[in-house]
């Protein structure tokens, strides 16, 4: 029972995480730590990204061909693996964003029906 619950939550998070990563990369290529930090900051620290979960997600996205990666040097002169958005990734981001917005609106409607007039 409990594993079932966890799985569902994970799934949801994963999907979201993927979208957030793609979104972050729209501003240019970035390494893993940078992505984690960026998500944290742009969500005004509301979202705490577990860094360990980030890398499997990055790998997944890379395997699907939505992002590409190569080793480079960071601003403070450290070697890091930089990810950038591919064309397919861009398309995927649009798709995901639309889906997410629809979902959010729909859920919003249910949770707060009064608003709709």
């Amino acid at each position: 029972m409990s594993t079932q619950d966890e799985k569902e939550r994970l799934e949801l998070l994963q999907g979201t995480l993927d979208m957030l990563i793609l979104r972050t990369l729209i501003f240019g290529s970035q390494h893993g730590q940078g992505i984690a930090r960026a998500i944290q900051q742009s969500s005004e620290e509301e979202l705490l990204v577990e860094h360990g979960a980030l890398y499997p997600a990055l790998r997944r996205l890379e395997e699907r061909g939505w992002i590409s990666a190569k080793w480079g040097t960071s601003s403070n002169n450290r070697k890091a693996r930089f990810y950038s958005l591919t064309a397919a990734g861009r398309k995927q981001l649009v798709k995901e964003t639309t889906k997410w917005k629809r979902l959010a609106t729909a859920i919003g409607r249910i949770l707060d029906p009064a608003k709709e007039g």
Binding site: H31, H51, A53, Y55, R59, A80
Partner: protein
Amino acid sequence: MFRRKRKASDFSSEIEAHLQLESELLREQGLTEEEARATARRSFGNVMHSEEHFYESTRWLGWDHFWQDLRYGLRVLRKAPGFTAIAVLTIALGIGATTAIFSVVDATLLHPLPYGQPEQLVTLCDDLPGIGAHDVGMSQPEWQDLQRSGIFEHVSPAQFDENNLTGSSRPARVRILIVAPNYFALLGVKPQLGRAFDPEDHSPGLVLEVLISDGLWKRAFGADPNILDKSVRLDTDLYRIVGVMPAGFDAPGRTPEERNIEVWAATSFYGAPMPDQPPRNRRSLPTAIGRLKPGLTIAAAQSRLDALVASLQKEFPGDYPRQSAWTVRLLPLKESVVGNVRQSLILLLGAVGLVLLIGCVNVANLLLARGSARGREMAIRRALGAAHTRLTRQLLTESVLLSLIGGTAGLLVLFCTKGFLLRHVPESLPRLNDISISWGVLFFALGASLVAGVVFGLAPALHARRLDLNHMLKQEGRGTTGSGEQTRTRRILVITEFALSLVLMIAAGLLLRSFWDLLNVRLGFNAQNVMAVRTRLPDPNDPKADLYGSPAQEAPFLREVLRRGRTLPGVEEVALGDTASIPLDESLRNLKLISEGQFLFTLEGDIQNDQPSVVERSSVTPEYFHLLGIPLLRGRLFNDLDNDKAPQVTVVNEAFARAYWPNENPLGKRFKRNRAEAPWITVVGVIANARTQSLAQDGVPQIYLDLYQTGGKRLAIFLRGQLAAAIPDQVREQVQSVDPTLPVSGGQTLKETVSASLAERRFSMEMIALFALTALLLAGLGIYGVISYMVSERTHEIGIRIALGAERRSVVRMVLRQGLGLAIAGAAVGLIGALIVSQLMAGLLYGVRPTDPMTFAGVTGLLLGVAVLACYLPARRALRVDPLVALRHE
């Protein structure tokens, strides 16, 4: 999918980079080096888990597990050297022996014959089933008909002969095959040097060209590269050598003599020295092979051939009497070459396969015993979360590893002993030279090892699935589980082993009895102290050049050889005969020489007028019968008055007299060769039957003609007495002092001839007996192991019984009962199997019925005896159990 794979190390360094970037950031925010590092790690989560996750997702896990299992398996095997040694040895024995036999089967039965498109090659057999004559050969006009029939690409008769080759240091007897000019085109082989005959050469008489074998080229001509166009004399006739066949080229044939041809000569079988127009009813071409038109199956060819035969019979009713029912049979060439050893070889392969299987059962038993010792290990691994499949796989990997090691060991031994083993294969085995450890054989060995590994690994592996964790872990440190189920499996294995062994032993027993009966058969002639030396008189193409052309010309030579023979030291008696008269001469079996062997004849005053019969015949001098100790029953033997001027006479054996003149006095009866101009032959004597034609057959009708009346080119000189080893050489000197051009060979004692005629039987009998003994040993060990195990398991119980006053006898009885129960159950199953197998091998038996009760009872008794012995030893150990020790045992 085919993107470049990311390495685990790359992933790790990425994570490391992340941690460094993060901690740097944190340090900038004011944390100390140590704090920063710790916080970075904390916020990352489980690094190991991430790495592991990555690792597992990038590889095929099975491979990893396999390597793990393999390494672990090797470690386990190393840790139990005794067990490993026994198991590897058993498997090595099984795989080695099976592979050895398979390499023979592979070379003889599985490989196509080494000729071009061998599947199109056939042997043609002319039969006259109406008069019980088979393989009677064809006539020249028939051959021509077949050539033109459109069924065959080529047909070539083949006639075996022995000739005197002169030109080399000493006159030599060479094996020669007289074929049609299209012979080599038919077989699709080319000489290594020079050329083959011109297939279109249809000129009369013999083509004055020969091809020689690689062996003769090297032996007699020192591998002279300029051999081509040199001339050799064969029986005083001059031939030009036009080609040398490659090494390893064997003529297709059943016997070594037929295969090891040294000289090929060609003719279209008409024109001097043969008749210009050979008559249709004279079957002078003893064998023939053919190549079917492309795309024609043998069945289709046979039906077209049947139609052809029918129309020829209609066209020439005088040459093909209806009663004889002439047919021509097509056989795949391969069948005629290896057909007669197929059954023996398959039996051998089956036997050795059984040994392997029994070996597997034994190893399975060992593994099971060990499996129970490792029960705790398995239980702990299960408790720690190892999956069922993972454990099964590990056990199977171990057993396959074991069998592969065993198989490799077996192959190595085979490689090392190859030469030794090959020397023991009878020479008569066709395609002996092709036997090798080829890729196919290696694949077979590998496959057999893998299958064996799975077979004996399966039972222990399946058992590991059904471990009772609770029970196992509760047992303190001790390995034995002895679950009821496991014991049951082991019993079933032992029963199987006994059943298989019994089948094998009964097969061996039947062969042994057949062989024994053959050895002790009443020969009807005395083979003691008799030797046969051969010589051959020249048979030139031009009859005028023939010094021994008529019996009258030959007689002085025969008398002189007899006279000189008697003067040799130790010689008591001398006789002469043609080579057909050599008793049980294996080299002549299945091999027809012109005018020798089968003899078509017509009885005088036969009611069924003109119906020819066929009989084995030989020409001998009168001393032959006394020398071989064949008694005269009626009438007289040949005497000096029976010369070439006198009417022809014959001595027949009892079987012949019975067959043709039952209840009549055979003396004075007449018959003649089945030819218009042939003279009448009068029966003057009847002798007792002797098994000179076949050891296995009694009462083969035979006739003997007088050598002084028939003459003969291929002669045997029989000598009886205390013969020294130098006798063959002394005979050569004597013969060559009469005529220096004559080759002299042989010098086998009749004992050796008789023994050689049993070579093939002896070989398969010895092999099967060896396998059966191995099986018996393995089965004995198997039951010993199981009973010992049971006893050790019940030490406690036995101790209590003894302590409570049980009689020792009853304890022994208890143990024996258990063991014998298994043995009897196994024997019962085995008897059923043996009944089936013995029916299948009926063709290989002589003298015993496939259900011979003595063999069945004897062998079963022997097996049970071994079982009792194997059980008695542990039972005695059980008796020595000290009740005090036994009670403390737990």
